[in-house]
Amino acid sequence: MKILVAIKQVPERDAPISIAANGKWIDEGGLSYTINEPDAYALEEALQLKEKTGGEVVVLCAGPERVTSTLREALAKGADRAIHIEADDLGERDTLGVAQLLADAAKAESPDLILTGLQSDDLGLGQTGVVLAELLGMPHATIIMQVEVTGSSLKVKRELEDGWFQHVEMPLPALLTIQSGGNKLRYATLMGIKKAKTKETKTVQPAASISSKAVTLERVYLPEKQKQTEMLTGTPAEVATKLVEKLKFEVRVI
């Protein structure tokens, strides 16, 4: 079975964020990047499926040159091949534009299964996977915790709200967006890192030019406080004393 995993490179969670001069995105200078966490769970699911059923795991990522470090990390964890869609203009594209890039590259691979995270840690729109499925004419299921492949069909466990779940069956090829927590993430081993150097990374140029955008990001800014927050400062012992005062006389839980 050929499994394609669409991954995204995003700023590190703890990275200090400052707004770019044009006010339309963040300042990317000096930022460190990593794999989008939900996509790491998608990769993990793909690697485990391969261990069970055999086949090939191909990772796919669109973005500038820097995304190749994330692709190499995926190879080090056990992916067989990587495809880099060279695109310096992701910010100029909306979800449909980005999904179109991924769809063109995915079509050329004719995978049996496409996995991706349920949303990205940066934009968080949570739709690239579903749009990709729609562009490729594949059935999809979202927010998946478990995947079982039986012959030419798929049985998945979907997370619903409030602690409910549901099984869904569908034919292959299909696309799934993966929820975190279904598996434990693996680390790349030293051997894996060595092996990754010999694995194939193909660079492809975007086939689709930028079409007009359906939505535009006009401005980014720091959120306004919803509450008047009283900040408590001092040594840990001083802060603790102040907090206990609040707990006693204002919150009244002591």
């Binding site: 579903v130 779940f165 927590g181 939505v215 401005r219």
Partner: protein, 323 residues
């Protein structure tokens, strides 16, 4: 004429309550733009639900009753809603930001060459749609820049269902064209893993732990604080994903919704999925090393610092105050 259409969500004849927040959003957007607002509901045996909607201030209520829509499937909803939207021709399509909407709405928008503006937390004049980026660290203003319908989903708690205006609406039954063969997936019955043994929703005091705790063994210091306060222990999703605490202790959009007297958030950054679950808390105290963590936007009292120093000191002070 341009209009707003709100897609209401129901399962087995029971509303998803978030639908009414979307309905309130729809009415307010329509009023702002000086256009009509309508609502639609899909499924089977919808007479009761549809008649409830005809008592609201809406132009029309579309009831799409069809056997193949009895159980939700992405394919079924996309095919039918494409037909309904072509018929009703709204300029704006509003939905609650539920798991179901997240499953079908991006595909539906794609059929109209549109992009869903998901997880909207405010609507300003323009109209400008506000959503969060980078786990709540930034807000972003989005604009719809195309001729087709604008697809939006609104985050829980953004609009108040009580704000819905009453009125009278015309009921229109819409008959879709849908074949069983167009539905490629077969959904099973919803189930729960195990009986929930911990009901966080009733807890008056909650101490909740997030990523900042670093390692599983460190959770002990949070447990000590919780026990000193007589509080229930809770967590954000990554803690439960790692198996450090059971899933049933998770607060957030995929976990439990809580409304305690005190919510003490330790090492929790406050991504929107978590805030949604805890926003009913009366008082929020946040301890986090990052002064820009979004949790401080909703906290009444904030402490910027190292939780490994502050939490043990706090536990000690609480025990001393109680003795």
């Amino acid at each position: 004429m341009s209009s707003v259409l709100v897609l209401m969500e129901q399962r087995g004849g029971i509303w998803n309550r978030m639908s009414f927040e979307a309905l309130a959003a729809g009415q307010q957007l329509a009023a702002k733009l000086g256009i009509e607002c309508s609502a639609a509901v899909l499924g089977e045996n919808l007479d009761t639900l549809a008649s409830e909607l005809t008592g609201k201030n809406l132009a029309k209520v579309f009831a799409v009753q069809y056997e193949l829509l009895k159980t939700y499937t992405s394919d079924g909803y996309v095919v039918v809603l494409e037909q309904l939207l072509k018929h009703a021709a709204p300029a704006y399509v509003l939905m609650p930001h539920t798991y179901q909407v997240r499953d079908f709405a991006p595909a539906l928008a794609t059929r109209f060459k549109q992009v869903l503006i998901s997880d909207v937390i405010a609507i300003h004049d323009g109209p400008i749609f506000v959503r969060q980026l980078l786990q709540g660290k930034l807000n972003a203003d989005y604009k719809h820049s195309s001729a087709g319908p604008c697809f939006l989903s609104v985050q829980a708690g953004t609009f108040r269902a009580e704000a819905i205006e009453a009125g009278t609406a015309t009921l229109e039954n819409f008959t879709p064209q849908l074949e069983a063969s167009q539905i490629r997936s077969t959904p099973g019955e919803p189930f729960r893993e195990a009986a929930q043994t911990i009901d966080l929703s009733a807890a008056p005091v909650i101490v909740s732990v997030g990523r900042g705790i670093g390692e599983q063994e460190n959770i002990a210091i949070i447990e000590e604080l919780a026990s000193a306060l007589g509080a229930e222990l809770a967590a954000s999703r990554p803690i439960c994903d790692n198996g450090w605490l059971p899933m049933e202790r998770q607060v957030g959009s995929s976990g439990q919704t809580v409304s305690p007297k005190l919510y003490l958030a330790v090492g929790i950054s406050g991504a929107i999925q978590h805030l949604v679950g805890m926003k009913g808390s009366k008082t929020v105290i946040a301890i986090n090393k990052d002064e820009n963590a979004p949790i401080f936007e909703v906290a009444d009292y904030g402490v910027v610092g190292d939780l490994f120093e502050i939490v043990p000191a706090l536990t000690k002070a609480v025990l001393a105050a109680k003795s």
